[in-house]
Structure formats: C-alpha cells, structure tokens
C-alpha cells in the first residue's frame, strides 16, 4: 500500500515537473514571437514616421505670404521637413535650421539675454539660433504624435565628403578630396571660389576668385592660385562638387588672427536679420574692437557661386555692442564676414544660410545608444540640391510587455 502511494506521489511530482517544463518551453516560443512582432512593428513605425517627416512640409505652409514655419519665428502646428516648393524627398534647408540640435550645449549671449542653439562644426563656422525660435525635440514629438510612446533621433549627413587641404602656401595650392562612403569619386565637377581678405582700410575688403575643376581617379582635384601668398593672407575657399546626381560642398579657411572675431547670431528668421556679436562676449577671450565687412554668396542654378549685395555690410564691433545685417533672400547661401583688428590681423567667418550650403550635419533627438532595442530606416534626400542621407532611429518608450 505504502509502495503504491510513493509510486503515486512520485508520478505526480514528475508529471507536474514535466508540465512546468512544457509551459516554460511554450512560453519561450511565444515570448520570442511576440518580441519579433514588436520589433517588426517598430520597424514599420520607423519607416512611416520617417516618411511623414520627409514628405510633409508641416504647417503653417504658405511660403508666398512668408508664413511657412521654416522661414518664420512661429511654432509649427504640424511637423514636417519637406521643402514646400518641391515634391518627394526634397527637404527645406530653412526648416532644418530651426531644429534644436541636441549635440551641442547652448550658448548664452548677455547682450540679448538669450540662449542660442549651437551648431558649430569648426572655428568660425557656426549656426546659432535663439532658443525662442527653434523647434525642440519634445514639441516635434508631440506634433508627430509619438510623445510618450516612441523616442526618435533624426540624423542627416551629407553623402559626399568634400575636404580641402593646402598643399603649398606660396603660391597657394589646395587639394580637394571627394569621397562618399569612403569611395573616391572620380570625374566629379568642382566649382570653387576663393574669398581673400584684403584689409588695407578702415574696414576689410575682399576679393572673390572663382573657377572650376575635375577630380582624378583618386577623387582629388588640385586648385592653384598663382600669385596668391596664403601665408600672408586670410582667406576661405568654398567648393561645390557634383557627380552623377550627387552634390556636396566643402570649405577651408585660413585666418591670420582669430583671438576675437564677429559671431553671427540669428535674430529673426522671418526677415532674415542677424546680429554680429564680438566673440569675446560669446566665447570669452581678448576683447579689442574689430572691423568687419560682410557679403553673401549663393549657389546659382548653374552651380556657380554668385555674390549677392547686402546693406549695412561694414562696421565695428566692440565688446558689449553688436551690429545688425539682413539677408534679403530666401535662397540658400553662405554669409561671409571678413574682419580685422588692424591691417595685419584679419580673418574670415562663414555662416550657412540654410544648412546645406556648408554641408552642416543635422542630429535631432536624444542619443539612442542607451535604449533596449533601436530600429533604423534610411532615405536619400536632397537639401537645396545637396545630397544627404537621412536616418531615423526609433525606439519604444513603453517597454516590451513580455520582458520585465
């Protein structure tokens, strides 16, 4: 009798253990399947969200009456980055300028008592937009309908990498290296202009020399400027490169003096007004007055660089003061500010009007590295003719219900 009972108990224990094992095995399979479905759903959402950003210009939209959100100071009521004058994946270079880039810490300028979103890609190459005019990440997430459900990070990187480096200084020779994904791009057309500071008067003046070239099989083009002594001059060279439908841009500056310099700050997107601040007020450092002379170059439809006259283009900036200038165009281009402390100490500052004109990268949204599972999707887009790769990283903020 006792043996039968023990046998019975043993059998039940083994049965229950097996049942638990069975449930565990099934649970594992179902859990994996649900996770797969969640990830696939996330990938679909990522693709949809990326398209809704890139194929929608957002509102307000009316560019003819200058109420398009990318060209004004207003907060958008729907979020989108498409250029309203185009279709398909053509993005507005001005909407991108209004995004709050998360990669850099903000700058404070005491003369306006405002903080500025700071996108700086090198000394003298920056885009500073006041915080009250930028669209921050949380606003964009709310407008896209993903606030609290998904986190995202939008990255736009130029497809072409155009780097310029001097190979000799007297006379100046520059090597232009054109690559994409590491591949050298041969037979690419190069259109360039040299902006040379010629400071011999109260205000610095400048001379613009333009030319064209072609890259060789290593993706290199050689620009030479006979009679130009780079060691004794401040200058900037801007190059636009095109090959088989791809467009890119690069630049190089050489400054004889950069202890302090004019810093262009955007004052009002609506009318294109800027402030020129003394760098000592923005970044600290020495604080003598500097004289400046500004001009604007834009990329014409034939991909040559053209100069556009500005008003109030010369002046002096002492610490504690600033000057105003207005860019009277909705075309993309480069604001070029030549400056001098005295006749021997000069320099040059560039600011893009539209992120594409200097191939500025865009990173909008938090860093996805700490997230549990991140899905990405990619599109190739053009921003004012310059080719970019747009990548969206998306992750769920609601966790995955099958794992704790």
């Amino acid at each position: 009798m006792a043996g039968a009972t023990i046998d019975h108990i043993f059998a039940i224990i083994v049965f229950l253990a097996t049942l638990l094992l069975f449930v565990g095995l099934f649970n594992q399979t179902i859990q994996t399947a649900i996770l797969y479905q969640s990830h696939r759903n996330l990938a679909t959402e990522c693709s949809d969200l990326l398209d809704s950003m890139l194929l929608n210009p957002g509102t307000p939209l009316d560019s003819a009456t200058t109420t398009f959100w990318g060209m004004t100071n207003c907060t958008p009521t729907t979020f989108g980055l498409q250029d309203p004058e185009f279709v398909q994946y053509e993005l507005s270079p001005f909407s991108l300028m209004r995004l709050d880039y998360s990669s850099a810490s903000p700058l404070y300028y005491n003369m306006t008592n405002m903080y500025y979103s700071n996108l700086t890609v090198g000394p003298g190459k920056s885009l500073l937009v006041p915080f009250n005019e930028v669209v921050n990440y949380s606003t964009a997430a709310q407008l896209l309908g993903v606030n609290g459900t998904y986190g995202f990070s939008l990255t736009l990187n130029p497809i072409m990498t155009v780097s310029l480096s001097p190979s000799s200084f007297n006379p100046l020779s520059l090597t232009v290296n054109v690559t994409g994904n590491g591949y050298p791009i041969a037979d690419a057309n190069v259109s360039y202009c040299l902006i040379n500071v010629t400071g011999q008067a109260t205000y610095p003046s400048y001379a613009i020399t333009s030319g064209t070239g072609l890259t060789n099989s290593q993706g290199q083009a050689f620009l030479s400027f006979p009679g130009f002594n780079a060691a004794q001059n401040s200058y900037a060279v801007v190059a636009y490169v095109s090959s088989s439908g791809l467009y890119g841009t690069g630049n190089y500056e050489h400054n004889l003096y950069n202890n302090n310099y004019p810093v262009p700050l955007i004052a009002d997107f609506g009318n294109g007004s800027l402030l020129f601040a003394n760098s000592a007020d923005v970044y600290g450092g020495t604080s003598p007055a500097i004289a400046y002379n500004a001009t604007f170059v834009l990329l014409a439809q034939d991909f040559n660089l053209r100069e556009l006259p500005l008003t109030n283009v010369t002046g002096n900036i002492s610490p504690g003061t600033y000057s105003n200038v207005v860019i009277p165009t909705n075309n993309t281009g480069i604001l070029v500010v030549t400056y001098e402390k005295d006749q021997n100490d000069s320099g040059i500052v560039l600011m893009p009007w539209g992120v594409s004109s200097l191939s500025f990268p865009v990173v909008f949204g938090p860093n996805p590295l700490a997230q549990n599972w991140v899905t990405t999707d990619t599109r190739l887009v053009t921003v004012s003719s310059v080719s970019y790769q747009a990548k969206l990283a998306l992750w769920s903020l609601q966790g995955y219900q099958v794992v704790s």
């Binding site: 059998a11 996330l42 994946y89 791009i185 887009v381």
Partner: protein, 441 residues
C-alpha cells in the same frame, strides 16, 4: 509501478507535443525582424540620382560610356555599406515579342542574398519630345470661336504695365490651340459687327453664337460708335445702358463674357467718341460708368428691364479680411498641372462679387477659379445663366495675370489633352534598382 509507467507515457506525449509545436512555430529570418524599407531606399536613391537628370542621361548613354562607372561610384557612395545593389536598365520598347530588353546592368555583388526589394523608375530621353494635341472647344458641339478684344481705338484701365494689345497677344498664344478659331477683334467697328451677329472673318469655323468674348481692356470695355445713342442713359447721364445691351447680347448669342481684372464694365472706351474725356486717372478716350455698368449687364443677361442701379456690389479686404489673400481652387490647381499654366496660387481680391448675385440673377457657378471666401464672396468664378450666356469674372487687384484668365476658361470648358507620343519607341527606359542587406542581426 503502473502509474510511473503511465506518467512516463504522459511525459513522452507532452514533450512530443512541445517538440512538434516548436517545429511548426515558424519564426522569421533575423533580417526580417527589423528590416530597412529597401523599396523606399531604392526609390529615393533613384530620385536623388536623377535630381539633375544624370540618371536619365546615363540610362540612354552607350554601354561603354564613362557615365556608367560614375553611376556605379555614385551608388556605392550613396548606399549604406551593408546594402548590396543591382541596377538594371531596360529599353521599354513597344514592338517585337519582348517588351523590355536589358540595356545594361551594374552590381556590387554576385548574389542578392535571401531577400531583396526593388524600386522602378521610368526615365525619358532628352531627345524625345512628348507632344499633346488639345481637344478643340466646340469640335463636337456648338461654339468654338474665341473673340479677343484687341481694339486699337479703345484704351484699358487696371491693366497698368500692359496694353490691351499685349494682353490680347499673350492670351492668343495661350488659348488658340484650344479653340476652333481665335479671332482678334481689331477695332470697335468689328466689335459692333459681332454685337449685331455678323461674322468678321472668312474662317468657316467662326460662329458668333456660343462664342467666348474676352475683354482685355480690364475695367474698361470698348464701345462701338453706333452705341453712342442706344447705349446712353440720358436720364442718368450714364453709359450703363450699353452694358445692359452687352448683357442682352451675351444672353442672345449664348456668349461667355470674360472680365480679366477689377470691377467689370466700370468704364466705356472709344478714343474717337471720347477724345477729351478721361477716367479721372489721366487715361483719355473713356467715360466712367461706375458700378451701374455691371448691374445693368446682369439685368440684360437675366432678361430684365433696364433699371439704372449705381449700387456698389463688390468686396475687398475692408469688406472681408479674407479677401486680402485668396487662393486657387483645388480644381484650378489640378488644371494648372494638366494644362501647364502656373499662375501664382495666391492672389488679392479687391473686386470680389457677392454670392447674392447667384440668386438675384439666376446664375450658377460651374467652376471656381479662386476659392469662395466665407461663403459670401466669389473672387474668381465661371457663372452660367439659367437661360443662356455666361460670365467669367476675376475680381482681382491690378495688375492682371492673363494666365489666370486662360486657366479660368480652361477650367470652365475643360478641353482634353491627347498625348500623341506615349507609344513612341526608344524614348523611355525603365531603371530597376534591387537592394538587399548583407550580414545578420
């Protein structure tokens, strides 16, 4: 012992069920769990490479042309490193047994892996010309005659920067393909002839009845000398009665009367009749009629008795702020693309007609050129009378954009365009870009 054996059987059955269920529980490939949308990536790649028509030029280039290697480099430079591609160009031929013939193919991989996706893109040769033949208005029914008032003996107003003659020529160039016959009315005498129902050309297609009459003089309207008496309301010292007779003629001949800008029929003009009269703004050869002109026109169109009515009926931004910025209707925007006429989508209306005229004069809007504002104002529309006759009125601020008039007429009549070379061979090539991911997750 028996129970232990039974339990062992149960265990075997349960584990067997688990194993079998696992075999049938199909999970996707790792690449499919979180896939990149390769179709969209391929499409955007093709669109970007053709943004300056480089792809189109390469697709029609010889196979040994250097542009193919440049295209390959551009593809390698554009696509993420973990993507392999195969780009194939087909000739979309219409003849022969095979519809698509491979022209060339470039790839950076021998195999496209276990899964791939494609996008297709049709490119046109830069040497091809795609023509379209417009359907002639009136070809299958009545009408088909377009009269453009190009009167040398009358002046215009609110057409500042243009003359009636230059506007007439532009309108002719825009619209003559769509009408059976387009006739320039060279002077007010000829205009008087058609008002009497007499043809003024030898064209067999000219038909006064059902014609379209475009007044390119803006707010002024040419007046034949013969109407100096019959068109004059001596009791009110006004030529509003001439507008009344124009309305009657519009109904009698089932015309479509077109006012290109401003307040319709606000002045009458004849440099011979009024050599010393000016409109108050220094333009001689015209007399002011005022708001009574349009009211009288509507009375004539609606077959009412003539009553002098100087009431101002149009609206501007002071009447309704919405008129400061008016927009092309969706129908007009659609027709912009169809007919290839692109005036600005945003206009300013300072002489918008009120909706009340519809019930007052038995009119129906058959086509909106500009969107109605606040259910009260019609900045630009095509009106048809319940009996006969029609009016196209654009109550916009000066200076006129004559393309809007052309677009308005095309919106009203909607002639079709017949593409004539869609079936031509060798003018289109199909580019197929196939992408695949390499590497696992």
């Amino acid at each position: 012992m028996m129970r232990t054996i039974e339990i062992l059987f149960v265990i075997i059955i349960i584990l067997g069920a688990a194993v079998i269920a696992s075999l049938y529980a199909f999970l996707p490939q790792p690449q499919q769990v979180s896939p990149i949308n390769l179709q969209r990536l391929a499409l955007t790649t093709l669109e970007m490479l053709d943004s300056d028509h480089s792809l189109s030029q390469t697709a029609f280039a010889a196979v040994n042309d250097p542009s193919w290697s440049q295209l390959q480099t551009a593809l390698s430079a554009s696509l993420p490193p973990n993507i392999v591609y195969n780009l194939t160009v087909y000739d979309a031929s219409a003849g022969g047994t095979q519809l698509y013939n491979i022209i060339n193919s470039i790839s950076n991989a021998q195999s496209m892996g276990i899964s791939s996706d494609v996008a297709t893109y049709l490119v046109a040769s830069s040497n091809a010309t795609f023509n379209s033949t417009p359907q002639k208005i009136g070809a299958n029914g009545a009408g088909g005659t377009l009269y453009i008032l190009n009167c040398s003996d009358s002046n215009g107003w609110w057409i500042t920067g243009y003359t009636a003659q230059t506007l007439a020529q532009d309108l002719y160039n825009l619209l003559f393909p769509y009408f059976q016959v387009t006739i320039m009315v060279q002077n007010t005498t000829q205009f008087g002839q058609i008002l009497n129902g007499t043809k003024i050309s030898t064209s067999p297609f000219e038909n006064v009845t059902n014609a379209v009459v475009v007044n390119t003089n803006g707010e002024a309207v040419p007046m034949p000398q013969s109407y100096n008496t019959t068109g004059y309301d001596s009791g009110n010292s006004s030529y509003a009665k001439y507008s009344y007779l124009l309305g009657k003629a519009t109904a009698q001949y089932n015309w479509t009367w077109v006012s290109i800008v401003g307040y319709p029929l606000y002045y009458v003009s004849n440099t011979g009749l009024f050599p010393n009269n000016q409109n108050g703004w220094g333009i001689y050869g015209m007399m002011e009629v005022g708001a009574s002109g349009l009211n009288a026109f509507f009375e004539g169109l609606n077959n009412q008795s003539y009553v002098y009515n100087p009431t101002w009926i149009t609206g501007d931004s002071t009447s309704d702020p919405g008129l400061a910025s008016v927009y092309l209707s969706s129908d007009a925007q659609n027709n912009c693309n169809y007919y290839g006429i692109y005036p600005s989508q945003y206009q300013t209306a300072t002489r918008a007609l009120p909706v009340s005229i519809l019930s007052m004069y038995n009119l129906t809007v058959t086509s909106y050129i500009l969107q109605e504002v606040d259910n009260a104002w019609l900045p630009g529309a095509f009106y048809k009378h319940a009996g006969a006759g029609a009016l196209l009125a654009l109550g916009l601020a000066r200076t006129p954009d004559i393309r809007l008039t052309a677009l308005g007429l095309l919106c009203g009549f909607k002639p079709r365009l017949f593409p004539s070379q869609y079936g031509a061979t060798g003018t289109s090539r199909l580019v197929v870009l196939q992408l695949s991911e390499v590497g696992g997750v």
